[in-house]
Amino acid sequence: MSEHRNKQTSLVPTRKNMLRVWQLLLGLAFIALWSLVAQNEQWAFFLGQPQAVLIRVIEWFVPVTFAPNEWISTGLHGTGEIYVHLGVTLLETVLAFLIGTSLGLGAGLWLALSPMTSELLNPYIKGLNSMPRVILAPIFCLWFGLGIWSKVALAVTLVFFVVFFNVYQGVKEVNPVILANAKMLGANSSKLLKTVYLPSATSWVFSSLHSSVGLAFVGAVVGEYLGSARGVGYLILQAEGTFDVNTVFAGIVVLTICALILDAVVGKVEKRLMRWQQPSSTNNSL
């Protein structure tokens, strides 16, 4: 009897399962519509074709070649070239993320704990932050060449300010009672930094982690797009030069999937390191 019941409950379409089904249907409907519109050759020139995009993605990842057949009219020319480009882009992202976060953390802590410096630098920081920093890319190209470091530099400028402002605000808003308590327990300033300010700032870094990883990725790709010899941004730029819209879309798909994976990794890391935090209510999906 109980077994029967268990089976029933798992088969009953819960609200969440139904939602997944609808989400999947929505995606399929979009692709079907795209595919339908792409029957027209003129439209296909601008919008690409979902099948062609898929074939391009497969060619990038699987180095297999075969002649046209009844299934794939264009045949398959697998190169497996994406790994180098993706590797470069991810390397830039990770480097930019690490450098930007440590610089942001350090600067945020320093300025928050030294009000004089903070007031002195205030207008310049505001200015640097409001500047459209993507425009720095040509300068970085000039300084660091076409290799990965000009992209890392661009992405660092994006990551830095997110982390910096979060840490600055976080340290400024450390609970004064906690500070007074630590002082009464005998903390000197270096121990106060180690046991109160740094952990508190780190928690703010983590709250900005999702956006900063995303921005590191954006910085890397935009940097590549503006001038490079490797990377997914470079692939997209090349395809655009030959009006190969399918490859452009294939690049976008690959980048999106990578960004989702990065975000999931960050989520896992965050969950591990922020065990001490009260889990917030999770049923606020959209």
Partner: protein, 274 residues
């Protein structure tokens, strides 16, 4: 007489919040002494400056006038012989209960091993040894107060300052904690300065109750020796005839001040309405 803590003619002045050029006197000419091993409670209407007085005793706030002496020595900077239990949440959320109790020991460069032992010992004393590895958000309000108590007492301070430490707890948990604090205190008679707005709590726990006037320029207006026998049970002692008599005596002094303080909060200028 050997005092652990002397507040000698203390005044505290601040710039007024509403008017930058106006000076607000929170504490005016207050003298308050706590002997070694004495449990002194300070009661007064809300907002009269009780916490200010405690911050002065802790050395967190420098008085505008007057002197603080700790075991006869004038106080400069923080009062290192005092432990302070705050009213608000003061534990580090990224540390477990045990790590929070170890915090002060780490500050004093005590080796990890003996710090661990001492902290565990105190957690056991406050009945939380099973919760040593819980983070703060996993503990109830009463448990958090116990961790705070252990965190303060593990350093073995000679003076214990408490600022309405139990005001956030429900009445049952509160009476339980009051008894526990008395129990711990009776074993190692430390000087205690206990701030509260609850007269019942003050009488039930203390050797002496000091009544403060309503602000501004709050000062003691009554000093009552509580000669009820110890050990006491805070829940039962409230039915004792001499307790009721003391309560009446102190309440007649306190009542007018509470009303005065209440009227001040209602009037926007902060001046006393006759």
């Amino acid at each position: 007489m050997n005092y652990a803590l002397e507040l000698d003619r203390i005044s505290c002045e601040f710039l007024s919040n509403s008017n930058q050029y106006e000076i607000y006197t929170a504490v005016g000419d207050t003298t308050l002494n706590v002997s070694q091993g004495e449990f002194v409670s300070v009661v007064g209407p809300t907002g009269c400056g009780k916490s200010t007085l405690l911050n002065v005793a802790a050395g967190l706030l420098k008085p505008s006038k007057g002197q603080v002496r700790v075991f006869g020595q004038p106080l400069n900077g923080l009062n290192t012989r005092a432990g302070y239990m705050f009213q608000a949440e003061s534990l580090l959320p990224w540390r477990t209960a045990l790590q929070n109790v170890m915090l002060g020991l780490e500050y004093h460069d005590i080796s990890q091993k003996s710090a661990h032992e001492l902290a565990m010992d105190w957690l056991t004393r406050v009945g939380l040894n099973r919760f040593a590895n819980h983070y703060i958000h996993q503990l109830s309000g009463g448990m958090r107060k116990r961790v705070s108590l252990a965190q303060t007492l593990v350093l073995d301070p000679d003076i214990i300052l408490m600022d309405e430490p139990l005001s956030a707890l429900d009445i049952q948990t509160r009476q339980l904690m009051e008894n526990e604090i008395l129990d711990i205190w009776s074993k190692q008679k430390k000087a205690v300065l206990f701030i509260t707005h609850d007269l019942d709590e003050a009488i039930a726990m203390s050797d002496r109750v000091v009544v403060l006037s309503a602000g501004p320029a709050t000062h003691p207006i009554g000093d009552f020796v509580i000669d009820l026998q110890r050990p006491r049970n805070v829940a039962e002692i409230r039915h004792d005839p001499s307790y009721i008599h003391l309560h009446e005596q102190i309440w007649t002094v306190l009542r007018d001040e509470v009303l005065k303080g209440y009227r001040q909060q209602l009037s926007p200028t902060g001046e006393t309405v006759p």
